[in-house]
Amino acid sequence: MNKLVRQGFKPVDSHFKEDGQRWTVKEKIFLGLSPGDYFREQLKNPFNWILWVIYLVGTPILIARFFYGLGWATHSSYDYPWGLFLSWGLFTMVPLSASGFMMGTTVELFGRKDFKPIERLGLLNGLLGYFFAVVFLEVDLGQPWRLIYPMFVSLGPAAVLFLVAWHVATYLSVQIAELVPSFSEWMGFPRAKSFIKSLSIGLTVAGIILSTLHQGALGALFTYAPGKLHPLWLSAEFQWIHFLCSAIFAGLSMIIVVSTLSKWFMSWRCDDEFLSTLDKLTLGISKGAVLALITYLVIKIIAVAHDNEWGYLLTGWGQYYIVELLFGTIVPMILFTFAIRRQTASIARLAAFVAVFGIVLNRMNTALVAFNWKLYQEIPHWREIIIAIMVYATYIVVYRAILARMPILYTWNDKTK
């Protein structure tokens, strides 16, 4: 697509073609190319070849998971009920999708309109991340058709997971609403856009409330098993604060990561406003991220002091914990600071990638590695790994499809004929 754009092709960015005709929905979906040209472009992309392989291998396994059950597809056991689907799909993807409320708050609530070019990317990242977290959940649940039970059939309101279920459902609605303007621009529904705009502060505040609570709740889930999670990773009083604080810089770093990937691989779709302001915005986001990082580091140390766990730091697990903090928190913090002082966006981008890696490490450690630390170590089943890769690949495919079409990376040209 990059080559086509260099050759002068202009993908759909308004309701009207050059000659004044309206684009049809079908034409919009094909980006203004003929279907033949479109599919030829897709075949040229090597990333798509990898996706084809993933789908060929993964689809039968995913379908079979529902016929043979979890015992066949995973290593979920009586001792280790939660495996890769939840540790990766839920516990890791949700904090990385905190970008929605971060960007919404920055632009709408705090009035920082200068972040507007990147706002929609943050919102989309949030929506898709949560949506696919639910997909992962459905793959993991023993009886996925009963997903609505905690909402309407049998309520257990005292449980933390009840809060997570309700909040994720409500927050998904909020995020869909926040992306309606983008969708309605693309489809041409101006009334929908203005309706949502009128709710914008309410939606943003709802988003902050819901995000605070469910990001924290995911951490609180582990306080149900205080004896099973290694003391360094567990803090009965502060677990939820740790998860909330890390979600903040996870979401911010993820925006930097996604915007970087968009710049590298989808620059044909980005407009000048996006590309020219991106470096400055990246550094602006870095400031937020580094504040959250230093806070997180300090509250993690406070938690160790609070429970008097200094002795554990000298053990093997302790050294692993220090490595996690080092690479997940201290290194990105130093890199971000350096980038801000030198006003170098590329270093900030590196920092963001490292911070995302740190979040992945922390969540996987909490949910899988340091969980049941007194027992044997659980390794996910190869089928579990393939299904997880496949669902994540679908997330990327959908992400890419929306970025290519809807006005996220570019501004919709609203000119009338």
């Binding site: 902050i208 889930l221 098993a225």
Partner: protein
């Protein structure tokens, strides 16, 4: 502004609803003193008497209609089985109770331990279930309702004794499998569970929990050289209906002695209490931030209006 009010109303109801729900947290502050319903039944397991005959396992299998075991119940080679990480047998979807053998060098003979759901006073499984699938009956049994279970398996994460098993082998109706103290067939009618009745050595005594605690302390007093001076389950994780007496230290026969006396709920309460706070404080707080952050714009708009 009308739309803003509607949204606020929705938020308020959600806040109110969750606040009402989270007010369980308020009750829970007194929860660690909950000693069970007054006439709650219990079982005192005297491990000094267990000979490892596995009749209890056989009786449970029959009473609960469980599938055929891998080996006959009189096959004692099961005591030598080990699973992942060298661990002994545990409860599974086919066995609600298991007996394990512990070879302790100081004892002349092996010590056996029967293991099943302990029917806690403040069960962690019940606390963690978001579809309210668990109930602590007034007879003392912790029951499970498979009709509402979604299969999230949080109860398996929460149970400090690693009791609930999940029927992973079933794709259509996987559910939790655990001891129900023979509630449907016996406990409801005041009868002892099948394993208690079947045991030839009467290792288990069935009666009111509060009476069993007294009985247990009497037994220890009567023959102090035969027992460790502790009833396991009297206070652990807030107290359990199934309690144990042992001659050897409990950690040597597979008991977790680091569980503390707080029910698991105590560790979650701090977060649950915050929920209504956030729901009620965040709206005003962040609307306030918004007003502060946009004051320059507001001033400009006012200026423009006054100029017109």
């Amino acid at each position: 502004m009308k739309k803003f009010d509607r949204r606020k109303f929705l938020k308020g109801s959600l806040a109110g609803g969750v606040a009402a729900a989270a007010s369980v947290g308020h009750e829970a502050k007194a929860a660690h003193t909950f000693e069970g319903y007054p006439d709650s039944m219990g079982v005192l397991v005297d491990l000094t008497k267990c000979i490892g005959c596995r009749t209890c396992e056989a009786a449970c299998n029959k009473e609960q209609g469980l599938p055929a075991p891998d080996k006959p119940f009189d096959d004692m080679s099961v005591f030598d089985e080990h699973r992942h990480g060298g661990l002994k047998r545990r409860t599974s979807e086919k066995a609600y109770t298991v007996v394990n053998r512990y070879d302790i060098p100081e004892q002349g003979e092996p010590v056996y331990r029967k293991f099943q759901c302990n029917h806690c006073n403040e069960p962690a499984c019940l606390t963690s279930c978001f579809v309210n699938a668990y109930t602590k009956t007034k007879e003392g049994a912790v029951m499970y309702n498979p009709k509402v279970c979604v299969g999230c398996r949080t109860c398996m994460i929460a149970c400090p004794f690693y009791v609930p098993a999940y029927s992973y082998s079933s794709p259509i109706n996987p559910i939790i499998k655990k001891c129900i103290m023979c509630y449907d067939t016996r406990l409801k009618f005041g009868k002892a569970p099948a394993c208690v009745e079947a045991c030839p050595q009467e290792v288990m005594t069935f009666g009111k929990r509060k009476d069993l605690i007294k009985m247990g302390h009497e037994k220890i007093k009567f023959k102090p050289e035969d027992y460790v001076d502790h009833i396991y389950g009297e206070h652990e994780v807030g107290g359990t209906a199934w309690m144990y007496l042992s001659k050897v230290p409990f950690e040597k026969v597979g008991f977790d002695t680091h569980l503390g006396t707080q029910p698991v709920l105590s560790y979650v309460k701090d977060f649950l209490a915050i929920v209504p706070m956030v729901l009620c404080i965040w709206p005003a707080l962040f609307t306030g931030f918004h007003l502060l952050a946009t004051r320059k714009e507001a001033r400009k708009t006012e200026q423009q209006k006054s100029e017109e």
